[in-house]
Symmetry: C2
Subunit: 300 residues, 2 copies
Amino acid sequence: MNVAAADWIAADWGTSNLRLWAMRRDDVLEMRSSDQGMGAMSDPGDFAKELTRLTEGWPALPVVACGMVGARQGWVEVPYRAAPCAAIPSLTPVPGDPGGRPVLIAGGVMQTKPADVMRGEETQIAGVLAARPDFDGVICLPGTHTKWVRVSAGEICHFQTVMTGEIFALLSRQSVLRHSMTERSSDARIAAFADAVDTALSRPHQAWAQLFRLRAAGLIGTQAPGAAEGALSGLLIGLDLGAARSYWLGEQVLIIGAPRLSALYASALEQQGATPVIGDADTATRAGLHAAWRNYQGQS
Amino acid sequence: MNVAAADWIAADWGTSNLRLWAMRRDDVLEMRSSDQGMGAMSDPGDFAKELTRLTEGWPALPVVACGMVGARQGWVEVPYRAAPCAAIPSLTPVPGDPGGRPVLIAGGVMQTKPADVMRGEETQIAGVLAARPDFDGVICLPGTHTKWVRVSAGEICHFQTVMTGEIFALLSRQSVLRHSMTERSSDARIAAFADAVDTALSRPHQAWAQLFRLRAAGLIGTQAPGAAEGALSGLLIGLDLGAARSYWLGEQVLIIGAPRLSALYASALEQQGATPVIGDADTATRAGLHAAWRNYQGQS
């Protein structure tokens, strides 16, 4: 189908990237992306410019967006709803219909005890629930800030965020450990990952002490290539699983995230006897935006 | 006393800084420093140039240096000695007597099980032992990479490194938590530090989950100014203490490091019933270099 047949545009506008899909109901007609995430915008006017630039040649259709675009530093600050709340996000229009069409931004969800926030993941959860309205269990959304979300009766009940992805990026690229990171796949890497997950779950303080050893072992020549990266990843994901034990232990776990990272979380969970299922993140995002858009049209 | 009366030069040449002291035996006649640490050197020849520049006007005396200047990426790679070993470092001359005077570099110490390395701290430990040859206990050297070192009978027995300072710097300056860091001293900060140390020691997985809460609490407005920085510092130092428990529990602990950081470690240890003593880091460095220099002269 040609993009001229599209009837709305889905947008995932995070801190680092913008991704747009020209949609006809649930079907993707065309996808475009850029690295102009919220973090690259120096002025609120930049959001409209980037949206106009990236939709050039597309019909002037309503845009439904989720992610950090709705944060305080984003285009329009959309208030958080407080959990427990329905997963399906409420939409807030950007004033003035930029580019001559409605632009609607999904609001995030907050929790006061313990303090936590999400922006974007609520939309993916709504997308999961659109396909499986009776889902009752835990959704794990690994990423820069991994979220563990208890979902029941169509609601986000409570959730927990761990900075696993961001800390992995800082340690592997900017700390002294960057000198020890080598190619990504090897048997040594896989074994080191599994060992590190176990250490981090059963002896978290020792996991903390093990970080520098990844560098030291390389300096004194006692480390197989790939092992340090596997171990770093395993230590951080293991600590994350330790912190989220009440979320996954004995629960049905659905993982929604980037394929490679989702596979690592699944492997770590399986090692602990859990039986997680992996779902597609982009499908969930688009389905959630679609559900929010239908809901908004039904209300107005 | 005038710098003309100096008889040797002490140098602490780390990754980020170079500090020089014109010495007459144990006495400091003049101190100079620059930000030209090992990390700023793009060529091995830069080390001689920077040393010549920073000692301009000083007599051409022997220079005794410790720190990353002796690392693989340093001026001359000085091999590690294997612990257990005498604390007093062996010195390796830079070939060709750059600037027309001997330049001697102290070697670091390695450990194979578990893998660990130090460069510079062995010199500070030798300095402590020069003043107190009978010291039997643990020396904690907090910093970018905090070291816990078991010392007995003049020897470095075993040690453990945790990346506490480096991780604090990355999280407080480059992660999403940077938005939550505020001024450094407040009652809220002190209380948050103490609570976080307790959490990290008794529930390390929960400490891991608490990191993102420092940001979330700021976003939803439930956090006192200063509390996030105190909590971050307390979580990381508490995890460090948890990993090093066998080092400090029931032991005599001497802390050698920057004053503010040493005070934080002392406070965290006192909270756990330990009675640490704080010593001066620069005094220890110079005394260790002096001990190594006298030892070297006695050998040659």
